[in-house]
């Protein structure tokens, strides 16, 4: 404790020694297995997808240090922290990169696509081992928090190049600018995802119920569109195998086949995310004390009752059951109302042989007289270890400006001038649904400030604690929520205390 000193040099030196030993012996190692590798892998640099794969076009070339094939500076782009790893997204990404690399000779983008369950582990490995990429993204607010210390402040580059986020509302520019620590700008505005109600129209029709309002202030069925209205509606849309709904006598909670409500993909069971449409608030007061905001306590009880007393929210076991498609609840067609973000249009379509159901958007209900629409945002960032900030920034601008990527990712543009084109591209995927995009636009006016993903000391531990809490009320009947909340507050206090010495 007393003899602390900073020793990055010695540390890196150690790695250097290891590397020198390794490379000194490198020649002997390659001679051990040359015939095998060399014969299988002649270097033909054809990375293009052949229709019938020729099985020898394999290039075991290391990540290039020199200029790329187009003569430009190589910029490494790491994909996987958010969207971008599905087969349907990889194609457009490759097309974008090829087009970009062919269109100019200054910058050559080289991409890495990493399965998102492992992406942050792999990125951390690359960073820690001194082999970090230049650009990361698309990445949400949460991802930025996890890598906050490594993000480059883009302000000097923005100033020197005169970059303008055209078409982006100043409030959103401010929002993106608020994501860095110590006033740094760590990402260019790319996409925003207000949240609202997704509803399954077929299930409303079956129940003979009107669909929820699409305009802020409109009533539902003659009554205010608030939390109670949502609860009652959700219970009517929760049905057992005999066709009885959750408001009826004789409803069988052990054999539910359709659920009224779910907050799927709000970072499953994370209390901080699941409670965000109840309001907004900080987890830490100005003196550093951990607080559970009132709206969050209210939400915890609402969800707990919703799962175990009113039965309109599925339990963890029901979520992973076959009926809810092992975790794709809304797409299973067995959930009537889902509270989700704009990007959720990626994932609503059920698979054959079920007919695609009709779905629609509705505004968030008021909670305690207020509307809150939790906001997600995607951006692209540059890591501060980059050796080529200018080239990386050039690539970054091109990525952020690409309409094709917005469509592939299902990312609602932060740039208002691009929004209509994006709405049209999503509408084209759902012919005949007539999605009401005004809902999304209206909800942008009710963001949660502070954001439910805003940074806190030791973000990842706080997130784990919030998920553990949510997991408990999804798996355990009869929890004493007040006691659990007190425990959560203690846990948070411990995390904050440890993180801020």
């Amino acid at each position: 404790m007393n003899a602390r000193r900073s020793v990055p040099k010695g540390f890196i030196g150690l790695l250097g020694v290891v590397a020198i030993i390794a490379s000194a012996c490198g020649s002997s190692t390659t001679s051990t297995a040359p015939s095998a590798t060399a014969s299988e892998a002649p270097s033909v640099a054809a990375a293009t997808e052949a229709p019938s794969p020729s099985l020898v076009n394999i290039t075991p070339a290391p990540i290039a240090a020199g200029p790329g094939p187009n003569g430009g500076t190589v910029v490494r782009w790491f994909i996987g922290l958010g969207a971008g790893t599905q087969p349907a997204q990889i194609g457009p990404e490759q097309a974008f990169i090829t087009a970009f690399n062919n269109s100019q000779k200054d910058v050559y983008i080289q991409y890495e696509i990493v399965d998102n369950t492992q992406a942050s582990n792999i990125l951390k490995t690359e960073i820690a081992a001194g082999n970090a990429p230049d650009i990361i993204g698309p990445v949400g607010v949460e991802g930025l928090n996890l890598f906050q210390d490594q993000l480059l402040d883009l302000k000097p580059l923005i100033d020197s190049t005169g970059y303008k986020s055209n078409g982006v509302d100043q409030s959103l520019v401010d929002f993106f600018n608020s994501l860095g620590q110590n006033g740094a700008t760590v990402g260019l505005p790319f996409a925003v995802y207000p949240s609202f109600i997704f509803y399954n129209k077929d299930l409303f029709d079956e129940a003979g119920l009107p669909t929820p309002p699409t305009k802020v202030g409109d009533p539902y069925d003659g009554k205010p569109w608030d939390l109670d209205a949502l609860r009652t509606l959700a219970m009517k849309l929760t049905v057992d195998k005999n066709g009885k709904d959750a408001t009826q006598a004789g409803f069988d909670p052990n054999n539910i086949v359709q659920w009224g409500f779910e907050s799927q993909y709000m970072d499953n069971y994370n209390l901080r995310a699941e409670s965000a449409f109840f309001g907004a608030g900080a987890l830490q007061d100005s003196s550093g004390k951990a607080v559970i905001p009132d709206y969050m306590a209210q939400a915890a009880k609402w969800y707990n009752d919703g799962v175990w007393k009113d039965h309109f929210i599925p339990t963890a076991n029901q979520v992973t059951s076959d009926l809810l498609s092992g975790g794709s609840e809304f797409a299973s067609g067995n959930v009537a109302i889902d509270e989700g973000h704009t990007w959720f249009t990626c994932c609503v379509t059920p698979s054959a042989p079920k007919k695609p159901f009709k779905f629609g958007f509705a505004v968030q209900p008021t909670v305690n007289g207020k509307i809150t629409s939790p906001l997600h945002a995607d951006t692209f960032s540059i890591l501060k270890t980059t050796k080529v900030p200018d080239a990386a920034f050039k690539a970054l601008q091109a990525i952020v400006a690409s309409g094709d990527l917005l469509t592939a990712y299902g990312a609602m543009p932060a740039d208002q001038t691009k929004q209509q084109a994006w709405f049209d591209s999503i509408d084209a995927q759902f012919p005949g649904m007539k999605l009401d995009w005004n809902v999304a636009k209206q909800m942008l006016a009710y963001p949660d400030i502070p954001n439910h993903q805003s940074n806190v000391p030791d973000y990842s531990k706080v997130r784990s604690a919030m998920q553990a809490f949510g997991n408990a009320y999804r798996t355990t009947q009869g929890l004493d929520i007040d006691a659990e909340l007190a425990k959560l507050q203690q846990t948070l206090q411990g995390i904050f205390d440890e993180a801020t010495p």
């Binding site: 900073s6 390794a22 906050q148 076959d322 030791d458």
Partner: protein, 320 residues
């Protein structure tokens, strides 16, 4: 290295019967080094550096996303470990699991090996292939299979139990049932040990069994007096490897318990705690210290096993 070994004086070799043919001990030692040389070279090239590096990490506050701000903290990490309830929990959970899972796996894999090695069984090849198959399933798929199979709502297991009139437990969300569930999943992966046991069974000379039969020994007695002693080197291997892998148990626990050791840290295995410290909390320095604690514990246990094995394990070729 070969040169130094040649300098070793001859008397160092204790003479044993039937060992003279290789000539002077010096030449034997040279040959020994020649044969183990590939491993020594590989060890120096790829392994020793990272090993030492991780030991050095354990003396620092190395944070994965702040690699430029590493500081020596001496033995702080080790001191912190002693008071860390999660590390204690991790060791307890792992020990508890080891006590259940290792014997079950050892016995089950030997039992299945005996079964599918029996000449009286029709279609042995097919049985072996099928018993081996589960560990060939890619992890992402087998994980989903088990999550589905153990689901309380639509899973087959509780469905079958329900047919038998039994109300199946909440396998993955109950602190009590999660161990049997993980053991069950572990049983699915006995294929490798089964195969090793089959190989071991085949190394037992058949004439020994014939001799025993002539002496009037029954199947149980010849199993105890011939199979077990002749198999003992292989059983030792299985035991040591199970011990090592149990203390590194991670992937299944990670995937099936939301990556947090749910419910309520009941499945926070020591290696899961290590993984979380390293890659979730980014505390690679601290995680390395946990790694070296784990290393010390398992190494000591392994050495104890080897020590006990000196008297219990029979090597037909004599111990080298």
């Amino acid at each position: 290295m070969a040169r130094t070994s040649r300098a070793v004086p001859a008397p160092i070799r204790r003479s044993r019967e039937g060992r003279g043919q290789l000539g002077p001990s010096g030449r034997e030692a040279v040959w020994g080094f020649v044969f183990v040389a590939p491993w020594i070279i590989g060890f120096l090239l790829f392994t020793i550096g990272p090993l030492i590096a991780s030991l050095v990490f354990s003396l620092t506050d190395f944070d994965l996303v702040r690699p430029e701000a590493v500081r020596f903290v001496g033995l702080d990490n080790y001191a912190r470990m002693v008071a860390d309830p999660l590390v204690v929990q991790g060791l307890v959970v792992t020990a508890r699991f080891a006590i259940i899972a290792i014997p079950v796996t050892m016995i089950a894999s030997l039992g299945v090996a005996l079964l599918v090695n029996s000449p009286r069984l029709f279609g042995r090849n097919l049985f072996r292939t099928l018993f081996y198959m589960p560990i060939q399933i890619p992890l992402v798929a087998s994980t989903l299979v088990w999550i589905g199979f153990l689901n309380t709502e639509t899973g087959w297991l509780n469905g079958l139990l329900g047919l038998a009139g039994i109300d199946g437990p909440d396998w993955l969300n109950s602190a009590t049932w999660v161990y049997p569930a993980l053991t069950l999943i572990g049983l699915w992966g006995i294929g490798n040990f089964m195969l090793i046991n089959i190989a071991g069974l085949q190394s037992v000379p058949t004439e020994l069994y014939e001799a025993a039969r002539i002496d009037g020994a029954g199947p149980w007695s010849s199993f105890r007096r011939i199979t077990i002693p002749m198999m003992s080197p292989i059983l030792l291997y299985n035991l040591v490897i199970s011990l090592i892998t149990t203390f590194q148990y991670l992937t299944q626990a990670y995937v099936l318990t939301n990556g947090r050791g749910d419910p309520n840290n009941a499945t926070l295995f020591i290696n899961l705690d290590l993984f979380r410290e390293a890659f979730v909390n980014n505390h690679m320095g601290y995680a390395s210290a946990i790694g070296w604690l784990l290393f010390t514990i398992v190494l000591v246990m392994t050495l104890v096993l080897f020590f006990i094995a000196r008297r219990r394990v029979y090597y037909a070729g004599g111990e080298a």
